[in-house]
């Protein structure tokens, strides 16, 4: 059972984004979410903001004490499907079939952690101007690529513990940790390129 106290205790079912521990992760039925918490089924992500408030991470955020959780899933959530488009959904289904060793022995199968991180990212940023391309890296990570308003390349790879990116317009190649504040800052920079 999920605790209804002010400190979240989710029976190891959910993972705090700031300190990912991925064992025993499962999707939690909305009926198990205590009153006051918000559960967005469409993204496979649980955003907990206090006990009384639900704020979309893409809108202005002024509350404190938030906690951000995400859940593994073998399928893309509704929002990801809408944003990425049919071509990416087809490619995602293809990537699920990749077996260990697919890239001359070194390729890893699709990481469900990476899927969860990409879903989290899409809940922050989802205006790609056109359908982005979905790729699978030898590490088993999902990767998105698209062009910004100046037709310069943007590429993002979703690791279980970080996001690595390249933004040609800024000539910038870095990694960010999976914290709420960093995801907000990063998505705001991407919105400036739309």
């Amino acid at each position: 059972m999920i605790s209804t106290g002010s400190t979240c205790s989710f029976n190891s079912a959910l993972v705090q984004l700031d300190s990912p521990v991925w064992e025993n992760v499962r999707k939690v039925p909305s009926a198990e979410i205590p009153s006051g918490y918000a559960w967005e089924n469409s993204t496979n992500i649980l955003h907990v903001v206090g006990r009384e408030t639900w704020l979309s991470p893409t809108k202005s955020f002024s509350a404190t004490g938030y906690e951000l959780y995400f859940v593994e899933a073998e399928t893309l959530g509704f929002q990801a499907k809408q944003v990425l488009g049919l071509n990416a959904v087809k490619r995602f289904d293809l990537f699920k079939q990749y077996k260990s060793g697919w890239d001359v022995g070194r390729g890893l199968p699709l990481s469900l952690h990476s899927v969860a991180v990409m879903e989290a990212f899409i809940s922050f940023f989802n205006d790609f101007r056109q359908e982005p391309s979905l790729f699978l890296t030898p590490e088993g990570n999902l990767q998105l690529g698209w062009e910004d308003k100046d037709n310069n390349s943007v590429e993002i790879e979703f690791f279980p513990d970080r996001i690595e990116y390249y933004i040609e317009s800024f000539d910038e190649e870095q990694a960010i940790p999976l914290t709420y504040s960093e995801m907000c800052k990063f998505s705001n920079r991407l919105y400036s390129l739309v």
């Binding site: 071509n87 990749y98 060793g101 979905l134 699978l136 890296t137 390349s153 690595e164 390249y166 040609e168």
Partner: protein, 130 residues
């Protein structure tokens, strides 16, 4: 022992799998060239049709993970892309023939995500015969 360096006038080919290329959007992933000791093949040793057969034999993992094309680039062109970076990067191609692919060579330098994407975007695609 150091391996012979291929001259800038040569062209090389890189196998492209469906995970690295989105044919519908005509975009490539940096994973095509990101990292070090990237495998390529010399077109002065084998023609593209022979290389595609080798790529299929070595890399196809049905039902998924298939080679869908080969990407060709001139070594000199690739080196110019490396030099044009804000932090210029010297790129070389070293001969590394293998029993299964006598045209095999490697780019030994570590290639960043941004540089890899620029090289990928400069490729000439060969997707026949499949």
């Amino acid at each position: 022992m150091s391996r012979p360096e291929c001259p800038p006038c040569e062209n090389i080919a890189r196998a492209i799998s469906d995970s690295q290329w989105d044919p519908e959007q005509n975009r490539c992933s940096s994973s095509l060239f990101k990292g070090e000791n990237i495998s390529v093949s010399r077109l002065t040793v084998l023609p593209i049709t022979d290389l595609l057969k080798i790529f299929h034999n070595e890399l196809d993992r049905p039902p998924a993970a298939k080679v869908i094309a080969a990407g060709e680039i001139n070594i000199g062109t690739m080196q110019e892309i490396g030099k044009s970076q804000d932090q210029p990067k010297v790129l070389t191609v070293e001969e590394d023939p293998l029993p299964s692919n006598p045209a095999h060579a490697e780019i030994p330098q570590k290639i960043t995500r941004g540089l890899a994407l620029k090289i990928g975007n400069a490729l000439i695609l060969h997707n026949e015969p499949l």
